[in-house]
């Protein structure tokens, strides 16, 4: 079973080098991670680092331009969620792997239509664990409420979920066991939590619509 952290930010964006992240991730039970700001896919200490790009999409045009400029160099492309129209457009656009930051948008911005699009197109929705550990008070309650809603939609429509620490430092990482515990807060059981930890591989290595087995 794969265990992948869907977003980490190594040095220079964060304060931890990629090799140090590899040492820590291995001790915490991961086998791969999606790292932003790295040149290409690499491997240290048995941890595979996929190249990730986060597109802070304010408008669909920006997302389209960013994906065009990326030219397939990134293994995982993540787009930050916005309003309802934007989310629906992003989820149907080819090349997008993960929709991030659903906890921060309005409740109606990710509805059953968007959920169905995500399931049909094989786009995953990211669960950011840092909101559960770093936010306080009402903001944390709202975020947990949104994520619970996303889990409910995922069960019904069958789109993939991924989990990310969004760590800029080793201090932001949590073990796979702790991640499983934290995911129970939003209604996922142990087997579902294990599937969520392997969600990135499910999205990246998804089967193509047409595959030529023998020529």
């Amino acid at each position: 079973m794969f265990s992948t952290d869907a977003t980490i930010h190594p040095y220079p964006a964060g304060d931890t080098s990629l090799r140090r992240f590899a040492v820590e991730l291995r001790s915490l039970g991961y086998d791969s991670a999606v790292a932003t700001g790295i040149g290409e896919r690499c491997e240290y200490e048995g941890i595979a680092f996929l190249k990730g790009t986060i597109i802070p999409g304010a408008a669909m045009k920006e997302v389209m331009r960013a994906i065009r400029e990326d030219r397939g160099s990134s293994d995982v492309i993540m787009v930050c969620a916005g309003d309802l129209g934007f989310n629906r457009a992003v989820l149907t656009y080819p090349g997008v792997h993960i929709l991030k930051g659903v906890h921060a948008v309005h409740r109606s911005a990710f509805d059953h239509v968007a959920a169905r699009s995500a399931a049909d197109r094989g786009v995953a929705v990211d669960i950011d664990l840092s909101v559960m550990t770093c936010l306080k008070g009402v903001r944390r309650q709202r975020a947990v409420e949104r994520l619970t809603d996303v889990v409910r939609l995922s069960r019904k429509y069958g789109f993939a979920l991924t989990v990310s620490s969004s760590a800029y430092s080793v201090l932001g990482l949590r073990s796979t066991r702790a991640v499983g515990h934290l995911l129970t807060l939003i209604g996922l059981d142990a087997s579902e939590a294990a599937a969520v930890l392997g969600g990135v591989r499910a999205v990246v290595d998804k089967p193509l619509p047409v595959e030529v087995l023998e020529w």
Binding site: Y11, D15, T16, R20, E24, R174, L182, T184
Partner: protein, 160 residues
């Protein structure tokens, strides 16, 4: 003098040892207790935290031992995952082992290595103080006028 309870009437405890990151940080047991209580109260409320009865038994650089009532280990581990700072300093607490007695726990948990002398290293043209070394891991800090800048690297990064 109060007569001690018979063994069957005593509370059954569980002891959890947890790794503290960064390893050089010297945690104050009282401050760790406040941080754990804060996280547990957010997650389980006052009644849940009261049932858990968390107590910090021991806190040393790189390691804390926390006690809770039997049956609440998972809840306490979940609360520890939500601890992000102790007394204003960013830390992470990773539970390692759980045991029914302190003796069994101490037998299985490695004692953190003693501190080494502070060294100065050069990295990308800037000098950093080494705060802690553990295996390949090296924690650096640069003292600035306004704030300290931490950097977490490996021995290999320094040799490059």
């Amino acid at each position: 003098m109060v007569k001690p309870r018979p063994p069957t009437m005593r509370t059954n405890w569980r002891y959890i040892s947890a790794r503290v990151v960064p390893a050089w940080y010297r945690p104050d047991p009282r401050e760790v207790y406040y941080a754990v209580i804060d996280a547990a109260t957010w997650m389980w409320g006052d009644t849940g935290t009261a049932a858990m009865q968390p107590v910090v038994i021991e806190a040393m650089p790189g390691l804390v031992v926390i006690r809770c009532a039997r049956g609440h280990e998972d809840a306490l581990e979940m609360a520890l995952a939500a601890v992000t700072a102790v007394n204003g300093c960013s830390v992470a607490i990773h539970p390692q082992r759980t045991s029914g007695t302190l003796r069994a726990l101490r037998r299985r948990v490695p004692v953190p290595a003693p501190e080494e002398e502070e060294e100065i290293v050069e990295l990308k043209g800037e000098s950093y103080r080494i705060l802690g070394k553990s295996g390949q891991k090296v924690d650096l800090v640069k003292d600035g006028i306004k704030k300290q800048v931490s950097l977490y690297v490996t021995q290999e990064d320094l040799e490059e």
